[in-house]
Structure formats: structure tokens, C-alpha cells
């Protein structure tokens, strides 16, 4: 984990100036998740996160993303759910206050379409994830949007009786929408 962080930091420092690095426009960016509970769709979101995205459409392969999510500011879609999801069997926000996504590669699939691969760490468990991303200009800013699915049990989210996937689905869709402040050098 530490080596990975060091690697990413090194990348951030030595990445050439053609790329830009920018924090996200917070009120226009979101990271949400959706699952099913007894067949009923339930959606939640993370209210606080930091994101550092480097992207150059001319050299997409050098792009990277580093996202830190503050787990205590989660909204599980209902008051009861929000209290419950912070507890130990779920996110255990006291023991694991942050979650991370650190990209390892960005591939161009077609015009405005990319695939990002990276390491997702939640509750201290790290798994590989791959997500399709669309990138477009919106009001002079870059908008990154995408979604990918994870299995909550891979991250021990929902332990003990909650490991029962008949009540809460194992599959969780994570949706992200990141609007970047800087437009970068052309």
C-alpha cells in the first residue's frame, strides 16, 4: 500500500507539464453507489472526497487519477441506513476512515472513451478494478464519467449476518462524475 502511494506520488511529481493536475469542482462532482436490498434499488453517495486527476487527451496513456474518499460522510440513502453502514460490519468508518482509488493505467478505447484500471481500497482491503470512462468538455471544464461494479464481500462490506446476499446484493455499482477545474495546457 505504502509503495503504491509512493509510486503515485512520484508519478504526480515527475509527470511532464503537458498534463494537467487539478482538484475537482466539488459541488458538481459526485461519487455514488447503488445496490439492491430485497430486490429494491437503494442508492447512496459519498459527500466528501478529494480527487487528483491528470489527463491529456493527446497522451491519454500518461493520465492518472487518485481519489480519496472520507467514509464518515457517507449517505446510504436513508437515515437508518446511514447510521448502519458506518458500523463495524459495513464500512467500519472508525477503523477505516478513508477509501482510495489509485489508477494504474488509462487506455484510450475510442474518441472520448477510455478505460481506467486501478486499485480500490475500502476497509483496508485492496482489489483491482476496471472502469470505462467517458471524457468530454463541459463549459470549458473536463467531465469524467463512468461506472463499475464491485462485489461488496470482496471488501468485507457487510460481515456476519449481513454477508447474506439474499437480503443485500453482493453486487454494488459505483458511479462517478468528476468535473475538473483546470483545462490544462494545450
Amino acid at each position: 500500500m505504502k509503495r503504491l502511494v509512493a509510486l503515485v506520488l512520484t508519478m504526480l511529481i515527475f509527470i511532464p507539464g503537458a498534463l494537467f493536475s487539478a482538484p475537482v469542482v466539488k459541488d458538481k462532482s459526485s461519487i455514488g453507489f447503488a445496490t439492491r436490498q430485497m430486490g429494491v434499488p437503494v442508492a447512496g453517495s459519498f459527500k466528501r472526497f478529494d480527487a487528483d486527476v491528470r489527463f491529456d487527451p493527446k497522451d491519454a496513456g500518461k493520465g492518472s487519477a487518485s481519489i480519496t474518499i472520507y467514509m464518515d460522510e457517507v449517505d446510504a440513502g436513508s437515515d437508518d441506513g446511514t447510521v448502519e453502514i458506518k458500523r463495524k460490519p459495513w464500512f467500519d468508518v472508525k477503523g477505516h476512515p478513508k477509501a482510495w482509488f489509485l489508477s494504474t493505467s488509462l487506455k484510450e478505447l475510442g474518441p472520448g472513451r477510455y478505460e481506467v484500471a486501478g486499485k480500490m481500497t475500502i476497509k483496508g482491503r485492496t482489489r483491482d478494478v476496471i472502469a470505462p470512462v467517458t471524457v468530454k468538455k463541459e463549459g470549458g471544464l473536463w467531465l469524467f464519467e463512468g461506472a463499475f461494479a464491485i462485489n461488496r464481500l470482496d471488501f468485507s462490506i457487510g460481515e456476519g449476518p449481513w454477508a447474506d446476499t439474499g437480503t443485500v446484493d453482493d453486487k454494488v455499482e459505483v458511479r462517478f462524475r468528476l468535473l475538473l477545474t483546470a483545462t490544462g495546457k494545450k
Binding site: 430485497m38 430486490g39 429494491v40 440513502g77 436513508s78
Partner: protein, 180 residues
Amino acid sequence: MGNDRWTWTAIFLHWVVATLIVANFALGEYMGDLAVSPMKLRLYSYHKWLGVTVFALTIIRLAWRAFHAPPPFPAGMPSWERFAAKAAHALLYALIFIIPLAGWLGSSAHGFQTIYLGVIPIPDLLAKNNELSELLEEVHEQLNHALLLLVIAHAGAAMKHHFIDKDDILRRMIGLKGRK
């Protein structure tokens, strides 16, 4: 007399709905205070599914009744009793109709769609709204308490007709022929 009891359809639906209501009332009372657990989530879903079932069967009952005249009141039944019976039945139907609606709307306002049997989605009429969901859930609960009183009166009246007046009111809802 072919008309001295309710139709078998009416009898069957009456007792099925009665059983479901008693079961779902008990379930509703039990599940509310449980700590959050997978079991609680399951029970809430079962409660909603039973409620939807009661609602659907009630519509069928009302439709059936619209086309099948109920058996007449016993000849000697005083007019105040006839009026009370009609009023109580109208109120029972009204509550059995409104209570599931309040539950469904409350669930919608709480942010949880109702998906019948986990398969058939019932649209949300209301968006998520905490205050509204609390109000609707309170209405749902209070109407249930009113229903409980009304059901006790309804069953008590049936007993009174059967054991004191010794008429056929209860017999004809069990499918028995008249005594005379």
C-alpha cells in the same frame, strides 16, 4: 333459498383477507422495534408484499360485491343494527383500502420503493421526504389501531348474532345453510 349465504367466492376472499390482515397486523407490530438486521429487512419486505396482496384482493372483493348482491339481513333485525352493520362494513372496506396505500406512500417517502415479491416494481408516487414519511407512517399505524377496534366490533357482532340472536349472519359467511 339459493341466496341465503354469501357466494363461495365472497366467503373465500373474506377469510383469506381476514387471515392476511391478522398476520400482517401482528408482523407490523413486531417488526418496527427490531434492531436493523437482515431479518428486519426481510420482514419489512414481507409486510409490504402482504399489504399489496390485501389491497389487490380488496379491489377484487369490491368488484365482486358490485355484481353480486349480498344476502339480505335477517327479517327481524332492527333498523339501527342494519345501519350500524352497513356503516361498519363501509368503514372496514375504507380502512382496508387506505391502510396499504398509506404504507406504500410512507415507504416511497422513506426512499424505499415497493417491489412486490421482489419482482414487480410498484411506482413511487412520492419522492423521498423524511417529514412526509414520518407523517404517513404515523397515519398508517393509527389507522391500523382504528382497524383493530373495528375488527373486534365486527367479530363481536358476528358472535352476538350467532350466539345471542341465533340468526344466520355468521353461518352464511362460513358457507352453512340457514338454520330454519
